[in-house]
Each structure stands twice: as C-alpha cells, then as structure tokens.
Subunit: 337 residues, 2 copies
DNA sequence: CCCTTAAGATGAACCGGTTAAGTTATCGGG
DNA sequence: CCCGATAACTTAACCGGTTCATCTTAAGGG
C-alpha cells in the first residue's frame, strides 16, 4: 500500500495542460518534445512530486531493472564466518548500482527454494538471475536459461545442458603457484586439506594440488574439509595422525588454514619452522593469524563485478557476451610459508 | 524480456473454457469456486505452465511482496571483515522467506543513494524498507515513514521526527556485565576502546562503560576506534602509551579486541595475566583467538528476524506493533578475562 | 499563394492481472 | 407453483503507465 494517494501521469498531464503521452515522453527523456512543453511538464512533475509507478511501467516494458542473486545457503554456512558471499554481494551490488539496477537477494535454503526462484524469475520479477557458487550439479541455472531468462554463474557450473555463461577464478593456477612455492622452499611431504568435492572450487583446487605434486615427483596426502575452520581443525588432526613427519600443508581455504594453524600449534609444531602452511582466499583474517598466513588471493569482489557486467550485457542483448571469464589468482607470500 | 511468449490468464481461461475472472479466483485460492471447475482450471494452468505476471498483479493489488533492506556501506566497511551485516541479512532473509516475501538489498554508498532509495520505495517497488545500522542522524527512515511507507530500523535511530519502530540489543546491559566481570576479577585500571560515536551502538557501549566504571569508583581511560581491527590496533597502542600500567580493556567490538590482543602480545603483555580483555559481538573469530576471547554476545541474527517480523506486522497493518524491541545480550566468558 | 513535409502533440489501444457489480442457475419455503 | 435467497460464474471497469498511428500546425519550396 505504498502508492496510496500518489499523483499519476494523468494528474501531471492535467496540471501541465498536455496529454498523458507527452508527459510520458518527457519523463522518459524523449527528444521529440518542444523545450517549452518540457519545462512546463517538468515543473508539474516537481510540484506534484510525481514518481512513475514501477508496476505499471514494467507491465508494458517487460523490464523491472532488478536482478536476482541466488545464494545456496547450504547448511547455514553462507554467512557463518565465510566472507565469500559478502564479498560477492559487494562486488555485484556496486556494479549494479552504477548501472542503476537493483539487487534482489534470494536464499535457496528451503526444500522448495528452487521452485520459488524459478517462479519468481518466470513471473517477471527480475530481468535476470545470477548464481553465487553452485553446489553440485544444480540443474536450476540451466533450467532458467532454457526458459529464456538471462543467467550468469559465479564458478563454473558442473551441469550445462544449455551452457550458461560464468565467471570463475584460476583455481588451478593459484594452487600450482602455492605448491611450487612450498617445493621451492625445500618441502617434500606436502599435504592438502581439500574443499568440498561437490563444488567446482573444491574439485579444481584438489586437482591443482595433485597435478603440481605429481609433476614434482612428490607423494600426495589428502584430507577432506568443507572450507570451514572446524573442518580445518579436524583435517589437520587427521593429517598429523597419518603422517607425523609432514612438513607442509596447502589448505583450500583461509578458514581451514586458520583451523589447521591452531591444531599445529596445539600439537607443538612450529610454523613455518616445522610445517609450512598456505591457504586460499586472502581473507582479512590471514593478515591477523600468527604467523601471518601465506595464501592465494582470489579476486572475489572483482568476480562479482564481472558477473554483474556480464549480466548487464546479456540483458542488453549484446550479441557477443563471452561464455566464460576466468580471473587470475595471485600467491601472497607472508610468514607461514 | 523474461515474460516473452508466456501464457496469460486469458490463455488459461480459453483452454479451461471459463472466464478470466474465474481463473484468477482459482489461482488465488478463492473458496467460491466449484470443485469441478477448479480442477479443470488447475489442469489448464499445469499444462500451459502458467505463472501470474507479477507486474500486472502489483499494478492492481498495490503489493509487491518484496521488502528492501538498506545497508549504509560507509567507507566500504560493510563487508570487509565485519560479520554484522551478513548476520542481519541472514536473519532477515530467513524470516522473509518463511513469509514468502522477497528481500531486496540496497546499498547507499553513492552520494545519490538516499534519493535512489526514496524513489525506489515511492515507486512502489517494495512494500516496506528496513534499515541495517543507521549512521548518525540519518533523516531517511523518518522521511520514508512520513510518506506512509512502512519502516523498521535495526538499532535505535537517533533522528526521530516521526518515531520509527526499531529493534536493538541491550548494549548498556552487556557492557555493564563485562565491566563488572573485570572489576570482580580484581582489575582496577580498566580502559575501553570505543566504537564510532556517530552510531548508537558506539555511543551506548561507551556510556555503559562510563556508568559502570563510575559506579565502581574507578578511573576512565578511553581510546577511539571504529569497530575495525586496524582501529583496535591503533587504539591499543594509544592506550599503552597513556597508561602502561592498565590491567584490563573492554573493546566495543570483537574485531577491535582482536587487534588489541595482537598489540598487547607485541608489547610483551600476557593476556589475561597482565591485561584482561573483553570484546563485544561474539563473532566466530572470538573462539579462535589466542587466548579465546571473553565477549558480550549480541543476537544479531535474531535482531534481523525480529526486524523482519515487525515489518511483516506493519505491512499487515497490525494496529499494535511495538514501537521498539530490545533484545538481551549475554556475557560469554572464555579465556581472555 | 498552394502544396509538401516534417516536427510535435494527441487519442486510443494495449500490457495482464483483480474485483465490484451483474447475471444465471439451483433450491427450499410458503 | 412462484418467489426470494444463495451459490457460482461472467462481464467489464479499473490499476498506471507506454507507444503507435493519427492529427495539427507551421515552415519551406516552387
């Protein structure tokens, strides 16, 4: 009920002594309006405090100027202590704001979440849908794309019935740089704490570890994690059990690296003296651990911005939107390795 | 252009052999429809994959079923490493999702941000506006309320021309518990690192510190911070300069406490041996500092949920929505004090 | 001075729903 | 058997914009 007694186009037209059509053209900045009339209309708009009704406008233009961002929210992990989603939101938000589009946030935690998102998009509530970090082979992006709705994913989608444009970072390259740094530092028993294997980020970082280690002719040692600090703690304990002599760990997230760090300290290991450790993300926390964490920086905010830009081009029906964009990662060397 | 060739009410009506109005009533679950017709219509809906057009619907109902959440985003601090906003978003999101409303996120970083938000709301794009953490005497909430738009704030607004409903936490009570805990532990030179004094949260936590200390007959020692880790580091250095003999610090945020902890360690102080320290927030990080941080827990997610519930009641035109709700805080005792 | 042309404004037909008022069929009571 | 009440559906009038075809008017050319 927010549009109660608000002035309509009709009211402005009456006051300015012109037709509805003319007011509409003035409001939308059409060039074929005489300057004198334009001024009269603008004054009437000013005086009445006229603001166009969005629903009426969308009804005919078929555009809402708002775009959805879908967060998986699996197991409430989304915002627990994970700075990935906030960073994505910030990047996306900044870019959309510059383009004067609105960001609609949706979380698909509930079982019926997928259906809700689909309905929402099909109902024309938004002009496009962006996905932040897909879990597993989620069929939703492809399903929406099939319905003609512009879709962009952050992180390469595993399921691509119709291929969906995506933005990702160079996981493998970053991991390779990290592992090579450990090797160059003389480490020979390099373990990894892997991310969840139902997410491309988790999978690719593990692959990167394996390939680089194999190339160096060194043995693998893998423990499973899920990007959280808790899982880092548990995985590190597991690794120490399995190989007390290990001299380096690559953790697939900063949070897991932080957890591992605590476990190593509790186990009496010096970092980086006895065991070197490298994380992935470059969250702010990595500058405040003791020792400060060497890590692979991924440009999350930039990924968000890029995703938003792709979406805007898709909506503008730009014929040659790149099907994928991979952003570079960078090894940030601090004290832990 | 997401609603291209999609079936309309009209199409469903033709297929089912009834009028548009009847289909509308079936879709909206009216009771005055014969079961036989209802089934026929539902089948037609199913077969055509009909989804009501949101714009057309809002145009007449004057409802959008989406609600805005405004984030101030001052100085990019919003999502840097601060888990306050993510927690609010999660709480609000969960509650709105349960009510089948959509969350529209807006950041008012740009100078024209305020005007954009106002226009957006007045245009009827959302049914109500929630503010997460007001800075200073922001006139926007009151301005919107004056226009008849439902508004709820998280954190008591300083400016209340027409008073706006709000949800806040018991800052003073939490701080009092913290400071009393320090006093009870025998601390006598208790400093504080205050939050920004243009936010109610910063102001009230400082007042709480002052009052409790005065009641205990102890001297005050205040350093300025802005809730960030960096400011905690700087403020702690400042405090050590001014009183090298201090034996306790209450930091108005966990992040500042964390920064202070690092500085104390660098200065050779034992925590809690030489100096006790208590934070405020109970972010996850406080369980991973060394030593683990004693802190005041504030139910941020719950505040978000509560704010959303108030908004829903406001929209439903519930006559007796409480003008304010203050949630309790709780001292969580760990190792640092 | 008349005709063509173009600029600029208007009238009216949508867009796709909701809902008040009107119509038709059904049924019980007198 | 007729009448009014009731149930269930249809008709049509909105909601508030956009836009295209049409009309008006003034300027320019021969």
């Amino acid at each position: 009920m927010t549009t109660r007694g608000r002035p309509t186009l009709e009211a402005v037209a009456r006051r300015a002594g012109v037709s509805r059509a003319t007011v509409s053209r003035v409001v939308n900045g059409s060039t074929t309006v005489a300057a004198s009339i334009r001024d009269v209309v603008n004054q009437a708009v000013e005086e009445l405090g006229y603001v166009p009704n969005q629903a009426a406008r969308s009804l005919v233009t078929r555009q809402t100027d708002s775009i959805a961002l879908i967060l998986p929210e699996t197991a409430n992990r989304v915002f627990s202590d994970d700075l990935f989603f906030p960073a994505i939101i910030r990047g996306v938000g900044a870019e959309l704001e510059a383009a004067d589009k609105q960001l609609v946030l949706m979380m698909t935690g509930s079982p019926a979440g997928h259906h809700r998102v689909e309905r929402y998009a099909v109902a024309g509530h938004v002009d496009g849908v962006m996905f932040a970090s897909i879990h597993g082979a989620d069929p939703l992006p492809a399903a929406l794309a099939r319905k003609g709705i512009p879709v962009v994913c952050s992180g390469r989608p595993m399921h691509e019935d119709p291929p969906v444009p995506y933005v990702d970072v160079d996981h493998a390259g970053g991991v390779a740089a990290a592992v090579r740094h450990l090797v160059a530092g003389g480490r020979r028993r390099i373990a990894t704490i892997a991310g969840p294997q139902d997410m491309v980020a988790g999978i690719e970082r593990l692959i990167g570890y394996r390939q680089t280690l194999r190339a160096a002719g060194l043995p693998e040692l893998v423990a499973a994690g899920d990007f959280t600090r808790e899982s880092g703690v548990a995985a590190m304990r597991d690794l120490l059990d399995r190989d007390p002599e290990l001299d380096a760990v690559f953790a697939a997230s900063d949070l897991m690296a932080h957890g591992a760090l605590q476990t190593l300290r509790a186990a009496g290991r010096q970092v980086p003296g006895d065991v070197a450790i490298i994380g992935f993300d470059d969250f702010e926390i990595s500058r405040y651990t003791d020792p400060q964490l060497t890590t692979v920086r991924q440009p999350i905010g930039e990924a968000g911005r890029t995703m938003a830009r792709q979406m805007l081009r898709l909506i503008a029906e730009d014929p040659d939107v790149p099907p994928s964009i991979v952003l570079p990662t960078e090894l940030i060397i601090r004290a832990s390795a």
